[in-house]
């Protein structure tokens, strides 16, 4: 049976170079394990976009999208196995997990199969650099987010900063980018601390910061749950009152339910649902499809990803040939997604997208703006 399937798949691929009636997409994402909190909502958004496109007759009214899903359990080795299986079924494009590390585990297979792959929400700018021509990201880069938040901090008149980061993953080293930009803009970094992902107790770090001779104006971290709430509460109960700056990883309901400790936290993320914005429209679609409110911007990020693929198929004149799709994605400009306009042209695969600044206010979101960062300030991707 499997052989038959493979044969039909190969047959279908050979028989349909242009104006295919189906586009086969392979998703190897983490539906269980540590990355599931990000990949699971992204897949919800992906399903909403695919259902919408297919209900309208497919991409360009002709090409329906067929999605094959595999759970990689947040495991790097499992990602490469799942990607190999998907490649064997003849997919035209691949969707990879939310973190750079498992996505990179599949890079050998992706490159040799010459099939474009998009990570759901990895934000490390090193991903497409290491990944090569066929690897794309779908999120504002860490270095761009850090530039936006550093510029905001300076605008607010904050001159001194302290960073807390974890060397355990590429994403959690974002504060190093922040420190680089902050110093470049004339600010002073008073010190730094490291922690490990999943560390329960931040009291030692909090006590040390509270005892500094000069209190930092801002403390920047890209740690996410469960580390971020523990860190924040430890700092506040040690008497540290500095402005906290975080990143997209804390765009989660917990951040808004921390009570007084959470108030005033500022973070960068992929979008904000202003009235009349595409994100607000998406959130309505999400409500209609699932019956509940979208709790995170990662739903919309999934929708964006399918919009990018749709635009690429259209740009390739309806072709579902993987190579044609890769070239089309690499040249996309201003694709309107749910969160932002997305441009790949002129980048190495790390898209240019809007970064929004959000402040926690009265347990809700206060929109601080979506400033375009000064390109000269954006730090170069840093290889670990």
């Amino acid at each position: 049976m499997k052989k038959l399937l493979t044969l039909t798949a190969v047959g279908a691929m050979l028989a349909a170079p242009t104006f295919a009636d189906t586009l086969r997409l392979g998703a190897a994402t983490a539906q269980t394990g540590g990355l599931a909190p990000y990949d699971a909502p992204v897949m919800e958004g992906i399903h909403i976009a695919i259902d919408e496109i297919n209900a309208a007759g497919g991409i360009g009214g002709t090409t329906k999208i067929e999605l094959i899903e595999k759970d990689v359990r947040s495991d790097a080795a499992q990602t490469s196995i799942a990607v190999q299986e998907l490649v064997d079924t003849g997919v035209s494009a691949l969707i990879l997990p939310c973190d750079a590390d498992p996505s990179l585990a599949a890079i050998g297979i992706v490159s040799s199969a010459e099939i474009p792959a998009i990570s759901t929400c990895a934000s490390s700018p090193t991903l497409p650099m290491i990944g090569g021509d066929y690897m794309f990201a779908n999120f504002p880069g860490d270095n761009v987010q850090a530039t936006v938040s550093a510029a905001w901090a300076q605008e607010q008149g904050h001159d001194t900063a302290y960073i807390i980061y974890s060397p355990d993953s590429q994403y959690t080293t974002m504060p190093l980018y922040f420190a680089e930009v902050f110093e470049k803009m004339g600010g002073k970094v008073l010190g730094q601390d490291t922690h490990s992902i999943g560390q329960q107790d931040f009291s030692a770090i909090a006590t040390r910061i509270a005892a500094l001779p000069e209190q930092p104006d801002v403390i920047m971290t890209s740690s996410y749950e469960p580390d971020f709430p523990s860190m924040l509460k430890a700092l506040r109960s040690a008497g540290v009152t500095s402005q906290m700056i975080g990143s997209d990883g804390i765009d989660s309901p917990t951040t808004f339910s921390l009570g007084d400790a959470g108030e005033g936290v500022v973070f960068t993320t992929a979008g904000y649902a202003e009235e009349g914005s595409p994100l607000e429209a998406f959130n309505k679609k999400y409500m209609d499809a699932t019956g509940s409110e979208s709790q995170t911007v990662f739903n919309a990020v999934g929708y964006d990803l399918i919009k990018v693929i749709e635009a690429a198929v259209l740009a390739a004149d309806g072709s579902t040939d993987p190579k044609a799709l890769r070239d089309a994605i690499a040249n996309l400009e201003n694709v309107q997604g749910a969160t932002s306009a997305i441009t790949y042209k002129g980048t190495d695969g790390m898209p240019v997208r809007q970064v929004s600044l959000i402040r926690v206010k009265d347990a809700g979101r206060e929109f601080l703006g979506s400033p375009s960062p000064d390109a000269a300030l954006i730090p170069a991707p840093r290889m670990q």
């Binding site: 329960q200 107790d201 006590t207 509460k233 109960s237 309901p253 917990t254 007084d260």
Partner: protein
């Protein structure tokens, strides 16, 4: 000096939580020879109960006993359903069973509740801090220290003066002889699980009050720490588990506090290195169990 005292309070609070966790493992191990890696999932269950109570608008004062009750019931059910059938199996069989229970529960949480972590509403008071003798101490730190002391006193009383407790001590020393004296195996083992469930519940409340959220995989890290603490203290010995928990807490906090900044990245390997060093000199742990005569090879 101030900083040193302050960090010592931090270490006491963390060490106390580790001690409760390690005790939960040790109570079961001392009787059954099983290291229950699903102990962390008992914490997750207690955490979810706190979360649902918060959503239902119940006060924290009611939510905490409910969470403790849930984790006790879950522990007893775990024994009845998963561990009783393999009770006479080898240590490896029981160990693998406990991993299986942990994984099945994690997947159930992911599928039935949510893959994303869920916020737990906590009373604002827990984020406050009090000033004692020039030190700033978080209320949740204070709660951790008090809860540890209360639990240790309770456990001491239970083991010395309660029939089930005495029976458990007897069973830990020699289960076969204890049974010949008329002690029911089922009662003792179920009692041990109930006790470990209670300890997991208390630890969960302390753990969750710091992180303010629960997620399906939450239990892994604490059970790992508990395992290290239990080994460090002497596997199967209750006093050892307490000593191991506190020592681990002190090692972690002091390293984090006083290691020079350029060495901070190596904090965890250094910490575990110290644990290995202790074990080199005391291969059976700090306070080894009298009955488990592991030999140095």
């Amino acid at each position: 000096m101030d900083i040193f005292l302050q960090q010592t309070v931090n270490a006491l609070a963390l060490g106390g939580t580790y001690a409760l966790l390690a005790l939960g493992l040790a109570v079961v191990f001392s009787i059954m020879g099983l290291i229950n890696f699903a102990h962390g999932e008992l914490m997750t269950i207690a955490g979810y109960v706190l979360m649902y109570c918060g959503i239902a608008g119940l006060s924290f004062v009611i939510a905490v006993p409910l969470a403790l009750l849930a984790s006790v019931v879950a522990a007893v059910l775990m024994e009845r359903i998963a561990f009783r059938p393999v009770r006479n199996g080898s240590g490896a069989t029981m160990l693998v069973t406990s991993f299986a229970v942990a994984m099945i529960l994690q997947v159930l949480f992911q599928n039935l509740i949510s893959t994303r972590s869920q916020p737990v509403l906590l009373p604002a008071m827990l984020s406050d801090s009090v000033h004692i003798m020039g030190m700033v101490i978080g209320v949740n730190k204070l709660a951790a220290i008090i809860a540890t002391v209360v639990m240790l006193v309770f456990l001491d009383w239970f083991m010395k003066h309660q029939k089930t407790g005495i029976a458990m001590r007897a069973a830990a020393e020699d289960f076969a002889v204890a049974r010949l004296m008329g002690i029911r195996a089922n009662t003792v083992i179920a009692g041990a699980f109930a006790l470990s469930g209670l300890l997991a519940g208390v630890a969960a409340v302390l753990w969750v009050s710091q992180r303010a959220s629960v997620d399906p995989l939450m239990g892994f890290m604490p059970v790992l720490k508990a395992f290290i603490a239990a080994i460090l203290g002497g596997l199967g010995s209750l006093r050892g588990a307490v000593a191991g928990g506190f020592l681990l807490g002190f090692i972690e906090i002091y390293l984090s506090a006083f290691l020079p900044p350029e060495m901070q990245e190596f904090r965890e390997p250094i910490g575990l290195g110290i644990v290995v060093l202790v074990l080199l000199f005391r291969p059976n742990g700090l306070i080894p169990s009298a009955t488990l005569k592991a030999e140095k090879v």
